[in-house]
Amino acid sequence: MQVLIIVINVKKLRKEFNGTTALDGISFKVKKGEVFGLLGPNGAGKTTTVKIMSTMLLPDGGKVMIGGYDVVKQPQKVRAMVDIITARDKFYRRLTAYQNMSFFSRLYGVYDWKDKMEDFGDRLGLEEKDYEKRLADYSTGMRQKLNLVRNLIRDTPILFLDEPTLGLDPVSSRKFRSLLKDIMDREEKTVIFTSHNMFEVEELCERIAILNRGRITSVGKPGALKKRIFPKRLVEFTMTGEDSLNLTDEAIDHIEKKGNKVRVYLEDGERIHEVIEKIVKSVRVSDLSVKEPTLEEAFIRHTEEGDKEREEATSWM
């Protein structure tokens, strides 16, 4: 029997900044080797959570255990196990990549850094001539690759990626995600990934917590989360004949018709086959397709609903 080891345990974590609640008692657990996503809009509390987990910020309440160590009582033990990558990370601009890596590696106590740097750098698409360049001459994408190399050389079992693709163009961002995925598969690290970009989270994370206004509103696998918080399915098709569409089913939420293009919205995907059968029996169709909501649609709807509920609940005040 496989034993699941919890390496990150966050319990009722609270943090306020000048009277504003940044985290309102959030709790979650992350298993060893899991890639866990924290998804939320700007100001939701993602970075605050990561900063507390990486000992860069003290909480006002609650408890965070990383690898069995308390982030408040044993910060040095925690720091030995974790590393954090953000888009804001910097190197010494006037030094070359070699000089930078030599410095940081000595700090980490890694002495065979050069071989590791070239090995990891090669995997990430950095070339040997790049290492002789000063960091001032690096693009944002190259700098983020080197940032990842720095982490891989340090080789901590737990990695926090706090919006690491922020500021990268879509192509570099995609490449970076693919590199991350490759590294995560090979290195078996426990990863916390924060982002407001749904595609990234959906692509990389095994489980997601949706964070909004300092609270976790949902936790689960991306697919299950989508179904749970936004279960609608959409059947799209074009009518090719002159027949009129007469469609009824308990699963249908509503139908939109523009010319001969029809969109049928279903409450959930359970009766989708029956509905499609009814459609093809009723009218002649072409270009029939079934669409699932993206996590982005689910997320927007979910956070909007949460905000609306909150506004309604406090409207009398």
Partner: protein, 265 residues
């Protein structure tokens, strides 16, 4: 952490700083020329005053001036390098990567101070050579007088740590301390004897350890011994400074961790 690991980290900081200095070639040349120009200006000034009848300072006023600025330069670099260390890393954005190591923050701070010490040593040798070869001022630096110079450097880095801590929270504090530190040139007998100051100002002079550092160095060069008072005051001041520095750094760090100001700059 074992001793070897500790020295490896210290050495990494020293190498990094010299690589960074070397990357700014003109600044590097200026860093080498600055103490030469400095000692030349005050060497000529001292000699002019000596030629005009002197001030009665042992060894002549040019000797007085040169020992003053050599000691001052040593102390100044020690103080500023330790006090700027954290703020500089925060400013360029590398602080997080250093803080995320399991080591205590004192290691990078003291490593930066050590790196500054190597600069002080280079400047010291330059100034000594110019004083001897160009102005014929014979600085009779014995081993005890050199060790006393190092003690003077140690006595201020503790205060540097304290300012490094305060600067985590209030970046503008650096400017305030820069003014205060440079006022020590007036009070501590860098360019003229403390006795030339008004009586009230002399009380302030006696409360600042740098006064004793300058007096001890000068006496050891001109008379071959270090006064007992200076020998007692300097280590005591150094220990008090170090204790204040460590406590202040720790308290400021804790407040920055609570307020979320550790990375923000």
């Amino acid at each position: 952490m074992d001793v070897k690991e500790y020295f490896t980290i210290l050495w990494a900081f020293v190498v990094r700083d010299w690589q960074r200095r070397w990357s700014y070639k003109l600044n590097f040349i200026a860093m080498l020329l600055y103490p030469i120009v400095w000692v030349s200006v005050f060497g000529v000034l001292g000699r002019t005053i000596d030629d005009a009848g002197g001030t009665g300072a042992p060894g002549g006023f040019s000797m007085y001036m040169v020992t003053g600025i050599i000691t001052w330069r040593f102390i100044r670099v020690g103080f500023f390098d330790s006090s700027w260390s954290i703020r500089w890393e925060q400013h360029i954005g590398t602080f997080k990567n250093i803080y995320m190591l399991p080591n205590h923050l004192m290691i990078p701070v003291s490593a930066t101070a050590l790196s500054g010490f190597t600069v002080s040593m280079l400047n010291f040798v330059e100034m000594w050579l110019v004083a001897e070869l160009v102005f014929g001022i014979s600085l009779n630096m014995t081993v005890p007088s050199f060790l006393f110079l190092v003690l003077a450097w140690l006595s201020v880095i503790g205060f540097g740590f304290a300012i490094a801590g305060v600067a985590i929270l209030y970046k503008e504090i650096q400017a305030v301390f820069t003014v205060i530190f440079f006022s020590f040139q007036f009070f501590c007998g860098v360019f003229f004897p403390v006795e030339a100051l008004p009586r009230a100002a002399q009380y302030i002079s006696r409360a600042i350890p740098i006064t004793y550092a300058l007096n001890g160095i000068r006496t050891s060069i001109t008379h071959g011994y270090i006064p007992t008072t200076d020998l007692i005051v300097m280590p005591v001041a150094g220990l008090i400074g170090l204790a204040i520095g460590l406590i202040t750094l720790q308290l400021c760090l804790k407040k920055a961790l609570r307020d979320g100001k550790l990375e923000r700059y």
